[in-house]
Symmetry: C2
Subunit: 326 residues, 2 copies
Protein backbone atom coordinates (compact mmCIF):
# COMPACT_ATOMS: atom_id res chain seq x y z
CA UNK A 1 0.00 0.00 0.00
CA UNK A 2 1.38 3.41 -0.94
CA UNK A 3 1.36 6.26 1.57
CA UNK A 4 -2.11 7.87 1.62
CA UNK A 5 -2.88 11.43 0.57
CA UNK A 6 -4.73 13.26 3.36
CA UNK A 7 -6.06 16.80 3.55
CA UNK A 8 -6.71 17.48 7.21
CA UNK A 9 -9.03 20.47 6.84
CA UNK A 10 -11.62 21.45 4.28
CA UNK A 11 -14.81 23.40 4.51
CA UNK A 12 -15.88 23.39 0.90
CA UNK A 13 -19.47 23.74 -0.25
CA UNK A 14 -19.42 19.99 -0.74
CA UNK A 15 -21.19 18.42 -3.69
CA UNK A 16 -20.91 15.36 -5.93
CA UNK A 17 -18.68 17.49 -8.20
CA UNK A 18 -16.21 18.04 -5.36
CA UNK A 19 -16.34 14.36 -4.36
CA UNK A 20 -15.44 13.53 -7.98
CA UNK A 21 -12.52 15.97 -7.74
CA UNK A 22 -11.33 14.22 -4.57
CA UNK A 23 -11.24 10.98 -6.53
CA UNK A 24 -9.58 12.63 -9.55
CA UNK A 25 -6.94 14.05 -7.21
CA UNK A 26 -6.36 10.72 -5.47
CA UNK A 27 -7.28 12.15 -2.07
CA UNK A 28 -7.71 9.21 0.31
CA UNK A 29 -9.04 11.09 3.34
CA UNK A 30 -10.35 14.54 4.16
CA UNK A 31 -11.11 16.02 7.57
CA UNK A 32 -14.19 18.20 7.04
CA UNK A 33 -15.64 20.84 9.34
CA UNK A 34 -19.17 20.11 10.57
CA UNK A 35 -19.57 23.05 12.99
CA UNK A 36 -18.50 26.66 13.47
CA UNK A 37 -21.14 28.16 15.78
CA UNK A 38 -23.81 25.45 15.80
CA UNK A 39 -25.55 24.12 18.88
CA UNK A 40 -25.49 20.35 19.32
CA UNK A 41 -28.84 19.91 17.57
CA UNK A 42 -27.85 22.21 14.71
CA UNK A 43 -24.56 20.33 14.27
CA UNK A 44 -26.52 17.06 14.06
CA UNK A 45 -28.40 18.55 11.09
CA UNK A 46 -25.00 18.91 9.39
CA UNK A 47 -24.21 15.25 10.14
CA UNK A 48 -27.58 14.31 8.64
CA UNK A 49 -26.60 16.08 5.42
CA UNK A 50 -23.37 14.05 5.34
CA UNK A 51 -25.32 10.84 5.98
CA UNK A 52 -27.40 11.64 2.91
CA UNK A 53 -24.23 12.13 0.85
CA UNK A 54 -22.79 8.85 2.15
CA UNK A 55 -26.04 7.09 1.19
CA UNK A 56 -26.22 8.75 -2.22
CA UNK A 57 -22.54 8.55 -3.28
CA UNK A 58 -21.18 5.32 -1.75
CA UNK A 59 -18.84 4.83 -4.67
CA UNK A 60 -17.04 8.11 -3.96
CA UNK A 61 -17.04 8.73 -0.20
CA UNK A 62 -17.74 7.07 3.14
CA UNK A 63 -17.59 8.09 6.77
CA UNK A 64 -14.18 7.57 8.34
CA UNK A 65 -13.66 7.08 12.07
CA UNK A 66 -10.37 5.16 12.36
CA UNK A 67 -6.94 5.14 10.74
CA UNK A 68 -7.90 1.79 9.20
CA UNK A 69 -10.61 3.61 7.25
CA UNK A 70 -7.86 5.51 5.40
CA UNK A 71 -6.42 2.19 4.23
CA UNK A 72 -9.93 1.01 3.36
CA UNK A 73 -10.35 4.15 1.26
CA UNK A 74 -7.14 3.33 -0.60
CA UNK A 75 -8.20 -0.29 -1.13
CA UNK A 76 -11.67 0.61 -2.41
CA UNK A 77 -10.79 3.71 -4.44
CA UNK A 78 -12.89 6.09 -2.35
CA UNK A 79 -12.33 9.04 -0.02
CA UNK A 80 -12.83 8.63 3.74
CA UNK A 81 -14.49 11.70 5.28
CA UNK A 82 -13.55 12.49 8.89
CA UNK A 83 -15.55 14.96 10.97
CA UNK A 84 -14.35 17.83 13.13
CA UNK A 85 -15.59 20.98 14.87
CA UNK A 86 -13.88 24.36 14.52
CA UNK A 87 -15.47 25.48 17.79
CA UNK A 88 -16.71 23.96 21.04
CA UNK A 89 -20.27 25.24 20.54
CA UNK A 90 -21.76 21.79 19.76
CA UNK A 91 -20.86 20.47 23.22
CA UNK A 92 -22.70 23.44 24.75
CA UNK A 93 -22.03 23.47 28.52
CA UNK A 94 -22.21 19.67 28.74
CA UNK A 95 -19.07 17.55 29.03
CA UNK A 96 -21.16 14.42 28.37
CA UNK A 97 -21.55 15.60 24.78
CA UNK A 98 -17.83 14.97 24.15
CA UNK A 99 -18.35 11.21 24.20
CA UNK A 100 -21.70 11.49 22.38
CA UNK A 101 -19.99 13.48 19.62
CA UNK A 102 -17.16 10.95 19.47
CA UNK A 103 -19.79 8.21 19.08
CA UNK A 104 -21.21 10.21 16.18
CA UNK A 105 -17.77 10.21 14.57
CA UNK A 106 -16.28 13.57 15.57
CA UNK A 107 -12.49 13.20 15.71
CA UNK A 108 -11.20 16.81 16.06
CA UNK A 109 -12.51 19.75 18.07
CA UNK A 110 -11.10 23.25 18.28
CA UNK A 111 -11.41 24.61 21.79
CA UNK A 112 -12.07 28.10 20.40
CA UNK A 113 -12.95 29.81 17.15
CA UNK A 114 -11.30 33.27 17.27
CA UNK A 115 -13.29 34.35 20.36
CA UNK A 116 -13.32 33.38 24.02
CA UNK A 117 -15.24 30.11 24.46
CA UNK A 118 -16.28 28.23 27.57
CA UNK A 119 -12.98 26.34 27.24
CA UNK A 120 -10.20 28.74 26.19
CA UNK A 121 -9.33 32.00 24.44
CA UNK A 122 -9.41 32.62 20.70
CA UNK A 123 -6.70 34.35 18.70
CA UNK A 124 -8.71 37.57 18.15
CA UNK A 125 -9.31 38.35 21.85
CA UNK A 126 -7.27 41.09 23.52
CA UNK A 127 -6.67 39.03 26.67
CA UNK A 128 -5.77 35.36 26.75
CA UNK A 129 -6.57 33.71 30.07
CA UNK A 130 -5.57 30.21 29.01
CA UNK A 131 -7.65 27.09 29.63
CA UNK A 132 -10.76 27.62 31.74
CA UNK A 133 -11.93 25.21 34.45
CA UNK A 134 -14.25 23.56 31.95
CA UNK A 135 -11.49 23.67 29.34
CA UNK A 136 -9.21 21.54 31.48
CA UNK A 137 -12.02 19.07 32.19
CA UNK A 138 -12.97 18.83 28.51
CA UNK A 139 -9.36 18.30 27.35
CA UNK A 140 -9.13 15.38 29.81
CA UNK A 141 -12.40 13.96 28.49
CA UNK A 142 -11.25 14.37 24.87
CA UNK A 143 -8.05 12.55 25.82
CA UNK A 144 -10.11 9.74 27.35
CA UNK A 145 -12.42 9.09 24.41
CA UNK A 146 -9.99 9.85 21.57
CA UNK A 147 -11.05 13.24 20.20
CA UNK A 148 -8.10 15.38 19.10
CA UNK A 149 -7.68 18.88 20.55
CA UNK A 150 -7.25 21.36 17.69
CA UNK A 151 -5.94 24.87 18.52
CA UNK A 152 -5.89 26.38 15.01
CA UNK A 153 -7.96 29.45 15.94
CA UNK A 154 -6.79 29.73 19.57
CA UNK A 155 -4.58 32.29 21.27
CA UNK A 156 -0.95 31.74 22.27
CA UNK A 157 -1.24 31.07 26.00
CA UNK A 158 -4.33 28.91 25.58
CA UNK A 159 -2.52 26.87 22.94
CA UNK A 160 0.55 26.37 25.10
CA UNK A 161 -1.62 25.34 28.05
CA UNK A 162 -3.58 22.89 25.91
CA UNK A 163 -0.34 21.30 24.69
CA UNK A 164 0.83 21.04 28.29
CA UNK A 165 -2.43 19.89 29.86
CA UNK A 166 -3.31 17.31 27.20
CA UNK A 167 -1.96 13.84 27.94
CA UNK A 168 -2.08 13.03 24.22
CA UNK A 169 -0.60 14.91 21.25
CA UNK A 170 -2.78 17.72 19.93
CA UNK A 171 -3.05 19.31 16.49
CA UNK A 172 -3.07 22.63 14.76
CA UNK A 173 -4.93 21.38 11.73
CA UNK A 174 -4.70 24.48 9.51
CA UNK A 175 -2.26 27.35 10.05
CA UNK A 176 1.23 28.40 9.04
CA UNK A 177 4.27 29.70 10.97
CA UNK A 178 4.12 33.29 12.12
CA UNK A 179 7.81 33.70 11.14
CA UNK A 180 6.82 33.19 7.49
CA UNK A 181 3.67 35.32 7.47
CA UNK A 182 2.79 37.24 10.65
CA UNK A 183 -1.00 36.83 10.54
CA UNK A 184 -2.89 36.60 13.81
CA UNK A 185 -3.99 33.10 12.82
CA UNK A 186 -0.47 31.88 12.17
CA UNK A 187 1.51 30.27 14.98
CA UNK A 188 4.60 31.39 16.86
CA UNK A 189 7.83 29.45 16.79
CA UNK A 190 7.37 28.78 20.53
CA UNK A 191 3.95 27.21 19.93
CA UNK A 192 5.17 25.11 17.02
CA UNK A 193 8.18 23.88 18.99
CA UNK A 194 6.03 22.94 21.99
CA UNK A 195 3.39 21.35 19.77
CA UNK A 196 5.78 19.13 17.83
CA UNK A 197 7.97 18.24 20.82
CA UNK A 198 4.82 16.83 22.45
CA UNK A 199 4.17 14.70 19.36
CA UNK A 200 1.57 17.06 17.91
CA UNK A 201 0.96 17.90 14.26
CA UNK A 202 0.80 21.09 12.20
CA UNK A 203 -1.29 21.13 9.01
CA UNK A 204 -0.20 23.80 6.51
CA UNK A 205 -2.98 26.00 5.21
CA UNK A 206 -3.32 27.41 1.69
CA UNK A 207 -6.07 29.81 2.68
CA UNK A 208 -4.72 33.07 1.21
CA UNK A 209 -4.93 35.11 4.43
CA UNK A 210 -2.48 32.60 5.96
CA UNK A 211 -0.03 32.88 3.04
CA UNK A 212 2.88 35.25 2.53
CA UNK A 213 1.75 37.60 -0.27
CA UNK A 214 -1.80 36.24 0.07
CA UNK A 215 -3.36 35.05 -3.17
CA UNK A 216 -0.10 35.92 -4.97
CA UNK A 217 1.95 33.55 -2.83
CA UNK A 218 4.16 31.33 -4.98
CA UNK A 219 4.30 27.57 -4.72
CA UNK A 220 8.05 27.89 -4.17
CA UNK A 221 7.63 30.26 -1.24
CA UNK A 222 5.03 27.93 0.34
CA UNK A 223 7.21 24.85 -0.11
CA UNK A 224 10.41 26.57 1.07
CA UNK A 225 8.47 27.53 4.22
CA UNK A 226 7.53 23.86 4.74
CA UNK A 227 11.14 22.78 4.20
CA UNK A 228 12.27 25.32 6.79
CA UNK A 229 9.58 24.08 9.20
CA UNK A 230 10.83 20.52 8.62
CA UNK A 231 14.34 21.59 9.59
CA UNK A 232 13.09 23.38 12.71
CA UNK A 233 10.46 20.89 13.97
CA UNK A 234 11.02 17.61 12.11
CA UNK A 235 9.24 16.58 8.91
CA UNK A 236 7.34 13.82 10.76
CA UNK A 237 5.14 16.36 12.57
CA UNK A 238 3.96 18.16 9.47
CA UNK A 239 0.98 17.65 7.19
CA UNK A 240 -1.49 19.48 5.00
CA UNK A 241 -4.73 21.15 6.11
CA UNK A 242 -5.64 23.32 3.16
CA UNK A 243 -8.68 25.08 4.68
CA UNK A 244 -10.21 24.73 1.20
CA UNK A 245 -13.49 26.68 1.12
CA UNK A 246 -14.23 25.93 -2.53
CA UNK A 247 -17.58 27.01 -3.99
CA UNK A 248 -18.75 28.72 -0.80
CA UNK A 249 -20.73 31.94 -1.20
CA UNK A 250 -19.41 34.97 0.71
CA UNK A 251 -22.37 34.66 3.09
CA UNK A 252 -20.56 31.64 4.53
CA UNK A 253 -17.37 33.51 5.41
CA UNK A 254 -19.59 36.05 7.15
CA UNK A 255 -21.25 33.23 9.14
CA UNK A 256 -17.82 31.83 10.01
CA UNK A 257 -16.67 35.22 11.32
CA UNK A 258 -19.81 36.56 12.94
CA UNK A 259 -22.03 33.59 13.76
CA UNK A 260 -24.60 34.97 16.18
CA UNK A 261 -22.16 36.53 18.64
CA UNK A 262 -22.42 40.14 17.44
CA UNK A 263 -24.86 42.37 15.62
CA UNK A 264 -21.96 44.27 14.08
CA UNK A 265 -19.86 43.16 11.13
CA UNK A 266 -16.49 41.62 11.86
CA UNK A 267 -14.13 41.13 8.94
CA UNK A 268 -11.79 38.72 10.70
CA UNK A 269 -8.74 38.24 8.51
CA UNK A 270 -10.39 40.24 5.72
CA UNK A 271 -11.38 43.90 5.58
CA UNK A 272 -14.29 46.06 4.45
CA UNK A 273 -12.56 46.35 1.08
CA UNK A 274 -11.96 42.59 0.89
CA UNK A 275 -14.87 41.14 2.82
CA UNK A 276 -15.43 37.91 0.91
CA UNK A 277 -13.41 34.76 0.33
CA UNK A 278 -10.03 35.71 -1.17
CA UNK A 279 -9.01 34.17 -4.53
CA UNK A 280 -6.97 30.98 -4.17
CA UNK A 281 -3.32 30.89 -5.32
CA UNK A 282 -3.01 29.73 -8.91
CA UNK A 283 -1.30 26.49 -7.89
CA UNK A 284 -4.11 25.27 -5.61
CA UNK A 285 -7.74 25.60 -6.66
CA UNK A 286 -9.26 22.25 -5.68
CA UNK A 287 -8.63 18.61 -4.75
CA UNK A 288 -6.93 17.88 -8.08
CA UNK A 289 -3.97 20.14 -7.26
CA UNK A 290 -2.16 18.22 -4.52
CA UNK A 291 0.33 17.03 -7.13
CA UNK A 292 1.60 20.63 -7.40
CA UNK A 293 2.37 20.73 -3.69
CA UNK A 294 4.04 17.32 -3.82
CA UNK A 295 6.25 18.40 -6.74
CA UNK A 296 7.03 21.70 -5.02
CA UNK A 297 8.10 19.92 -1.85
CA UNK A 298 10.35 17.50 -3.76
CA UNK A 299 11.96 20.50 -5.50
CA UNK A 300 13.05 21.91 -2.13
CA UNK A 301 15.26 18.89 -1.52
CA UNK A 302 13.02 17.19 1.03
CA UNK A 303 13.37 13.42 0.59
CA UNK A 304 10.57 11.41 -1.06
CA UNK A 305 9.92 9.72 2.29
CA UNK A 306 9.63 13.09 4.03
CA UNK A 307 7.30 14.37 1.31
CA UNK A 308 5.14 11.22 1.51
CA UNK A 309 4.81 11.82 5.23
CA UNK A 310 3.83 15.48 4.80
CA UNK A 311 1.31 14.60 2.08
CA UNK A 312 -0.55 12.13 4.31
CA UNK A 313 1.60 9.50 6.01
CA UNK A 314 2.10 11.64 9.10
CA UNK A 315 -1.61 12.35 9.55
CA UNK A 316 -2.31 8.65 9.02
CA UNK A 317 0.00 7.69 11.90
CA UNK A 318 -1.48 10.50 13.99
CA UNK A 319 -5.02 9.18 13.35
CA UNK A 320 -3.91 5.71 14.49
CA UNK A 321 -2.62 7.11 17.79
CA UNK A 322 -5.30 9.72 18.35
CA UNK A 323 -8.74 8.37 17.52
CA UNK A 324 -9.24 5.49 19.97
CA UNK A 325 -9.81 5.42 23.73
CA UNK A 326 -6.76 6.29 25.85
CA UNK B 1 -21.45 -21.29 24.45
CA UNK B 2 -24.81 -21.79 26.19
CA UNK B 3 -27.91 -19.98 24.96
CA UNK B 4 -27.93 -16.43 26.34
CA UNK B 5 -30.50 -15.03 28.77
CA UNK B 6 -32.04 -11.83 27.38
CA UNK B 7 -34.67 -9.51 28.81
CA UNK B 8 -35.89 -7.41 25.93
CA UNK B 9 -37.49 -4.59 27.91
CA UNK B 10 -36.68 -2.93 31.20
CA UNK B 11 -37.16 0.57 32.49
CA UNK B 12 -35.83 0.18 36.01
CA UNK B 13 -34.39 3.04 38.04
CA UNK B 14 -30.99 1.67 37.09
CA UNK B 15 -28.16 1.67 39.62
CA UNK B 16 -25.04 -0.32 40.46
CA UNK B 17 -27.27 -2.45 42.72
CA UNK B 18 -29.46 -3.42 39.76
CA UNK B 19 -26.40 -4.07 37.56
CA UNK B 20 -25.16 -6.44 40.30
CA UNK B 21 -28.54 -8.18 40.26
CA UNK B 22 -28.27 -8.61 36.48
CA UNK B 23 -24.98 -10.39 37.04
CA UNK B 24 -26.36 -12.44 39.95
CA UNK B 25 -29.26 -13.48 37.71
CA UNK B 26 -26.99 -14.38 34.80
CA UNK B 27 -28.71 -11.90 32.48
CA UNK B 28 -26.52 -11.55 29.38
CA UNK B 29 -28.38 -8.71 27.66
CA UNK B 30 -31.09 -6.20 28.49
CA UNK B 31 -32.91 -3.84 26.15
CA UNK B 32 -33.46 -0.67 28.18
CA UNK B 33 -35.74 2.25 27.42
CA UNK B 34 -33.98 5.59 26.91
CA UNK B 35 -36.98 7.72 25.90
CA UNK B 36 -40.73 8.06 26.52
CA UNK B 37 -41.53 11.68 25.64
CA UNK B 38 -38.08 13.21 25.29
CA UNK B 39 -36.95 15.46 22.45
CA UNK B 40 -33.77 14.41 20.67
CA UNK B 41 -31.58 16.58 22.90
CA UNK B 42 -33.30 15.37 26.07
CA UNK B 43 -32.88 11.75 24.98
CA UNK B 44 -29.16 12.39 24.46
CA UNK B 45 -28.98 13.42 28.13
CA UNK B 46 -30.26 9.92 28.96
CA UNK B 47 -27.54 8.39 26.76
CA UNK B 48 -24.98 10.52 28.61
CA UNK B 49 -26.15 9.03 31.90
CA UNK B 50 -25.66 5.54 30.45
CA UNK B 51 -22.19 6.51 29.19
CA UNK B 52 -21.29 7.46 32.76
CA UNK B 53 -22.53 4.10 33.99
CA UNK B 54 -20.52 2.28 31.29
CA UNK B 55 -17.44 4.26 32.30
CA UNK B 56 -17.99 3.68 36.02
CA UNK B 57 -19.04 -0.01 36.00
CA UNK B 58 -17.12 -1.62 33.11
CA UNK B 59 -16.92 -4.90 35.01
CA UNK B 60 -20.72 -5.22 35.11
CA UNK B 61 -22.17 -3.68 31.96
CA UNK B 62 -21.25 -2.37 28.52
CA UNK B 63 -23.10 -0.86 25.58
CA UNK B 64 -24.42 -3.45 23.15
CA UNK B 65 -25.10 -2.70 19.50
CA UNK B 66 -24.82 -6.08 17.72
CA UNK B 67 -25.80 -9.70 18.34
CA UNK B 68 -22.08 -10.43 18.74
CA UNK B 69 -22.12 -8.19 21.81
CA UNK B 70 -24.45 -10.70 23.49
CA UNK B 71 -21.83 -13.41 22.98
CA UNK B 72 -19.14 -11.00 24.21
CA UNK B 73 -21.22 -10.43 27.33
CA UNK B 74 -21.34 -14.19 27.93
CA UNK B 75 -17.60 -14.54 27.35
CA UNK B 76 -16.68 -11.68 29.69
CA UNK B 77 -19.27 -12.25 32.40
CA UNK B 78 -21.01 -8.92 31.91
CA UNK B 79 -24.40 -7.65 30.75
CA UNK B 80 -24.76 -5.98 27.34
CA UNK B 81 -27.17 -3.02 27.47
CA UNK B 82 -29.13 -2.31 24.28
CA UNK B 83 -31.01 0.98 23.80
CA UNK B 84 -34.55 1.57 22.60
CA UNK B 85 -37.25 4.26 22.49
CA UNK B 86 -40.84 3.67 23.61
CA UNK B 87 -41.97 6.59 21.46
CA UNK B 88 -40.92 8.40 18.30
CA UNK B 89 -40.49 11.74 20.08
CA UNK B 90 -36.66 11.72 19.88
CA UNK B 91 -36.71 11.77 16.08
CA UNK B 92 -38.94 14.86 16.23
CA UNK B 93 -40.16 15.64 12.69
CA UNK B 94 -36.79 14.72 11.16
CA UNK B 95 -36.29 11.41 9.35
CA UNK B 96 -32.51 12.05 9.33
CA UNK B 97 -32.52 11.45 13.07
CA UNK B 98 -33.33 7.77 12.51
CA UNK B 99 -29.82 7.08 11.23
CA UNK B 100 -28.25 9.46 13.78
CA UNK B 101 -30.01 7.56 16.58
CA UNK B 102 -28.91 4.25 15.09
CA UNK B 103 -25.33 5.58 15.09
CA UNK B 104 -25.80 6.39 18.78
CA UNK B 105 -26.81 2.78 19.38
CA UNK B 106 -30.62 2.86 19.34
CA UNK B 107 -31.87 -0.54 18.15
CA UNK B 108 -35.65 -0.45 18.83
CA UNK B 109 -38.20 2.33 18.41
CA UNK B 110 -41.91 2.24 19.15
CA UNK B 111 -43.84 4.20 16.56
CA UNK B 112 -46.28 5.34 19.24
CA UNK B 113 -46.65 5.46 23.00
CA UNK B 114 -50.41 5.12 23.75
CA UNK B 115 -51.30 8.33 21.84
CA UNK B 116 -51.32 9.39 18.22
CA UNK B 117 -47.78 10.23 17.09
CA UNK B 118 -46.45 11.69 13.87
CA UNK B 119 -46.06 8.10 12.68
CA UNK B 120 -49.04 6.01 13.81
CA UNK B 121 -51.83 5.59 16.35
CA UNK B 122 -51.43 4.49 19.97
CA UNK B 123 -53.57 1.92 21.74
CA UNK B 124 -55.44 4.49 23.88
CA UNK B 125 -56.79 6.58 20.98
CA UNK B 126 -60.46 6.23 19.99
CA UNK B 127 -59.65 6.22 16.27
CA UNK B 128 -56.81 4.33 14.64
CA UNK B 129 -55.83 5.74 11.26
CA UNK B 130 -52.91 3.40 10.69
CA UNK B 131 -49.49 4.49 9.50
CA UNK B 132 -49.19 8.17 8.55
CA UNK B 133 -47.27 9.44 5.52
CA UNK B 134 -44.25 10.07 7.74
CA UNK B 135 -44.83 6.72 9.45
CA UNK B 136 -44.41 4.85 6.19
CA UNK B 137 -41.26 6.81 5.35
CA UNK B 138 -39.76 6.24 8.80
CA UNK B 139 -40.48 2.49 8.77
CA UNK B 140 -38.61 2.28 5.44
CA UNK B 141 -35.70 4.25 6.91
CA UNK B 142 -35.64 2.05 10.04
CA UNK B 143 -35.57 -0.98 7.73
CA UNK B 144 -32.64 0.52 5.84
CA UNK B 145 -30.41 1.28 8.83
CA UNK B 146 -31.38 -1.65 11.07
CA UNK B 147 -33.59 -0.17 13.77
CA UNK B 148 -36.39 -2.51 14.81
CA UNK B 149 -40.01 -1.29 14.67
CA UNK B 150 -41.67 -1.94 18.05
CA UNK B 151 -45.49 -1.72 18.26
CA UNK B 152 -45.98 -2.58 21.95
CA UNK B 153 -48.05 0.53 22.74
CA UNK B 154 -49.68 0.89 19.30
CA UNK B 155 -53.24 0.36 18.16
CA UNK B 156 -54.48 -2.64 16.16
CA UNK B 157 -54.69 -1.25 12.64
CA UNK B 158 -51.43 0.67 12.98
CA UNK B 159 -49.72 -2.50 14.18
CA UNK B 160 -51.06 -4.59 11.30
CA UNK B 161 -49.99 -1.92 8.82
CA UNK B 162 -46.51 -1.72 10.33
CA UNK B 163 -46.13 -5.50 10.04
CA UNK B 164 -47.28 -5.31 6.44
CA UNK B 165 -45.31 -2.23 5.41
CA UNK B 166 -42.04 -3.20 7.06
CA UNK B 167 -39.72 -5.19 4.81
CA UNK B 168 -38.03 -6.69 7.89
CA UNK B 169 -39.58 -8.49 10.88
CA UNK B 170 -40.84 -6.18 13.61
CA UNK B 171 -41.27 -6.70 17.36
CA UNK B 172 -43.76 -6.29 20.13
CA UNK B 173 -41.16 -6.13 22.86
CA UNK B 174 -43.43 -6.18 25.91
CA UNK B 175 -47.09 -7.26 25.88
CA UNK B 176 -49.21 -10.40 26.31
CA UNK B 177 -52.04 -11.96 24.30
CA UNK B 178 -55.43 -10.32 24.61
CA UNK B 179 -57.05 -13.79 24.73
CA UNK B 180 -55.29 -14.41 28.08
CA UNK B 181 -55.89 -10.99 29.65
CA UNK B 182 -58.02 -8.47 27.71
CA UNK B 183 -56.09 -5.31 28.58
CA UNK B 184 -55.90 -2.52 26.01
CA UNK B 185 -52.13 -2.98 25.90
CA UNK B 186 -52.33 -6.71 25.18
CA UNK B 187 -52.41 -7.92 21.59
CA UNK B 188 -55.12 -9.61 19.55
CA UNK B 189 -54.70 -13.06 18.11
CA UNK B 190 -54.85 -11.51 14.62
CA UNK B 191 -51.92 -9.19 15.42
CA UNK B 192 -49.85 -11.97 16.98
CA UNK B 193 -50.47 -14.28 14.02
CA UNK B 194 -49.52 -11.59 11.50
CA UNK B 195 -46.49 -10.56 13.58
CA UNK B 196 -45.03 -14.04 13.92
CA UNK B 197 -45.88 -15.16 10.38
CA UNK B 198 -43.77 -12.24 9.17
CA UNK B 199 -40.87 -13.43 11.34
CA UNK B 200 -41.54 -10.95 14.15
CA UNK B 201 -41.11 -11.48 17.89
CA UNK B 202 -43.35 -11.10 20.92
CA UNK B 203 -41.77 -10.41 24.32
CA UNK B 204 -43.94 -11.45 27.27
CA UNK B 205 -44.43 -8.80 29.92
CA UNK B 206 -44.66 -9.36 33.67
CA UNK B 207 -45.91 -5.83 34.33
CA UNK B 208 -48.97 -6.57 36.51
CA UNK B 209 -51.46 -4.60 34.40
CA UNK B 210 -50.62 -6.95 31.51
CA UNK B 211 -51.17 -10.09 33.65
CA UNK B 212 -54.31 -12.10 34.26
CA UNK B 213 -55.23 -11.40 37.91
CA UNK B 214 -52.67 -8.57 37.97
CA UNK B 215 -50.19 -8.74 40.83
CA UNK B 216 -51.85 -12.00 41.97
CA UNK B 217 -51.10 -13.75 38.68
CA UNK B 218 -49.54 -17.15 39.26
CA UNK B 219 -46.34 -18.33 37.63
CA UNK B 220 -48.27 -21.33 36.34
CA UNK B 221 -50.91 -19.18 34.65
CA UNK B 222 -48.19 -17.02 33.04
CA UNK B 223 -46.26 -20.05 31.78
CA UNK B 224 -49.36 -21.90 30.55
CA UNK B 225 -50.19 -18.76 28.55
CA UNK B 226 -46.72 -18.87 26.99
CA UNK B 227 -47.08 -22.57 26.19
CA UNK B 228 -50.42 -21.85 24.51
CA UNK B 229 -48.82 -19.00 22.55
CA UNK B 230 -46.05 -21.39 21.48
CA UNK B 231 -48.65 -23.81 20.13
CA UNK B 232 -50.49 -21.02 18.27
CA UNK B 233 -47.54 -19.01 16.90
CA UNK B 234 -44.45 -21.19 17.23
CA UNK B 235 -42.01 -21.10 20.17
CA UNK B 236 -39.27 -19.61 17.98
CA UNK B 237 -41.05 -16.24 17.80
CA UNK B 238 -41.40 -15.76 21.55
CA UNK B 239 -39.18 -14.13 24.13
CA UNK B 240 -39.25 -12.18 27.37
CA UNK B 241 -39.67 -8.41 27.76
CA UNK B 242 -40.48 -8.03 31.44
CA UNK B 243 -41.18 -4.26 31.46
CA UNK B 244 -39.39 -4.28 34.82
CA UNK B 245 -39.74 -0.83 36.41
CA UNK B 246 -37.89 -1.72 39.61
CA UNK B 247 -37.13 1.03 42.13
CA UNK B 248 -38.96 3.73 40.17
CA UNK B 249 -40.88 6.32 42.18
CA UNK B 250 -44.55 6.77 41.23
CA UNK B 251 -43.66 10.15 39.71
CA UNK B 252 -42.09 8.15 36.87
CA UNK B 253 -45.24 6.23 35.98
CA UNK B 254 -47.02 9.61 35.87
CA UNK B 255 -44.33 10.90 33.47
CA UNK B 256 -44.71 7.79 31.34
CA UNK B 257 -48.48 8.28 31.11
CA UNK B 258 -48.80 12.05 30.92
CA UNK B 259 -45.48 13.38 29.65
CA UNK B 260 -46.22 16.95 28.60
CA UNK B 261 -49.19 16.18 26.35
CA UNK B 262 -51.97 17.07 28.80
CA UNK B 263 -52.49 19.24 31.86
CA UNK B 264 -54.97 16.70 33.22
CA UNK B 265 -54.13 13.45 34.96
CA UNK B 266 -54.32 10.26 32.90
CA UNK B 267 -54.15 6.99 34.78
CA UNK B 268 -53.41 4.83 31.76
CA UNK B 269 -53.67 1.20 32.80
CA UNK B 270 -54.09 2.24 36.44
CA UNK B 271 -56.89 4.19 38.14
CA UNK B 272 -57.34 7.00 40.65
CA UNK B 273 -57.48 4.35 43.37
CA UNK B 274 -54.35 2.60 42.03
CA UNK B 275 -52.36 5.42 40.47
CA UNK B 276 -48.81 4.22 41.15
CA UNK B 277 -46.72 1.28 40.03
CA UNK B 278 -48.56 -1.96 40.90
CA UNK B 279 -46.79 -4.55 43.12
CA UNK B 280 -44.90 -7.19 41.14
CA UNK B 281 -46.01 -10.84 41.25
CA UNK B 282 -44.24 -12.77 43.98
CA UNK B 283 -42.32 -14.89 41.46
CA UNK B 284 -40.67 -11.97 39.65
CA UNK B 285 -39.23 -9.04 41.59
CA UNK B 286 -35.90 -8.38 39.88
CA UNK B 287 -33.18 -9.70 37.55
CA UNK B 288 -32.42 -12.63 39.88
CA UNK B 289 -35.82 -14.25 39.23
CA UNK B 290 -35.54 -15.42 35.62
CA UNK B 291 -34.87 -18.94 36.94
CA UNK B 292 -38.48 -19.04 38.17
CA UNK B 293 -39.77 -18.35 34.68
CA UNK B 294 -37.43 -20.93 33.15
CA UNK B 295 -38.57 -23.58 35.62
CA UNK B 296 -42.22 -22.64 35.10
CA UNK B 297 -41.85 -22.97 31.33
CA UNK B 298 -40.17 -26.38 31.62
CA UNK B 299 -43.04 -27.51 33.88
CA UNK B 300 -45.54 -26.81 31.08
CA UNK B 301 -43.94 -29.45 28.92
CA UNK B 302 -42.16 -27.09 26.54
CA UNK B 303 -38.88 -28.72 25.49
CA UNK B 304 -35.56 -27.46 26.94
CA UNK B 305 -34.65 -26.20 23.47
CA UNK B 306 -37.90 -24.27 23.20
CA UNK B 307 -37.41 -22.82 26.68
CA UNK B 308 -33.82 -21.80 25.89
CA UNK B 309 -35.13 -19.99 22.83
CA UNK B 310 -37.84 -18.16 24.78
CA UNK B 311 -35.38 -17.18 27.53
CA UNK B 312 -32.98 -15.51 25.07
CA UNK B 313 -31.96 -17.59 22.09
CA UNK B 314 -34.81 -16.26 19.95
CA UNK B 315 -34.03 -12.62 20.72
CA UNK B 316 -30.35 -13.33 20.02
CA UNK B 317 -31.17 -14.59 16.52
CA UNK B 318 -33.55 -11.68 16.01
CA UNK B 319 -30.78 -9.21 16.99
CA UNK B 320 -28.47 -10.83 14.44
CA UNK B 321 -31.02 -10.35 11.67
CA UNK B 322 -32.37 -6.98 12.76
CA UNK B 323 -29.58 -4.65 13.84
CA UNK B 324 -27.45 -4.21 10.72
CA UNK B 325 -28.08 -2.38 7.45
CA UNK B 326 -30.59 -4.04 5.13
Amino acid sequence: MTTPLIDNLQYANFSPAIFEQMRAGGVDAVHVTVAYHESFREMVLNLERWNRWFEDYPGLIFKGTTAADVSRAQETGRTAIFFGFQNASPIEDDIGLVEICHQLGIRFMQLTYNNQSLLATGCYEAHDTGLTRMGRAVVAEMNRVGMVVDMSHSAERSTLEAIDHSTRPIAITHANPHWWHPALRNKSDAVLKALTRAGGMLGFSVYPHHLKDGSECTLDSFCQMIAEAASRYGAAYLGIGTDLCQDQPDSVVEWMRVGRWTKAMDYGEGSAAQAGFPPMPNWFADNRDFGNIRRGLLATGLTPTEVDGIMGGNWHRFYARGFGPA
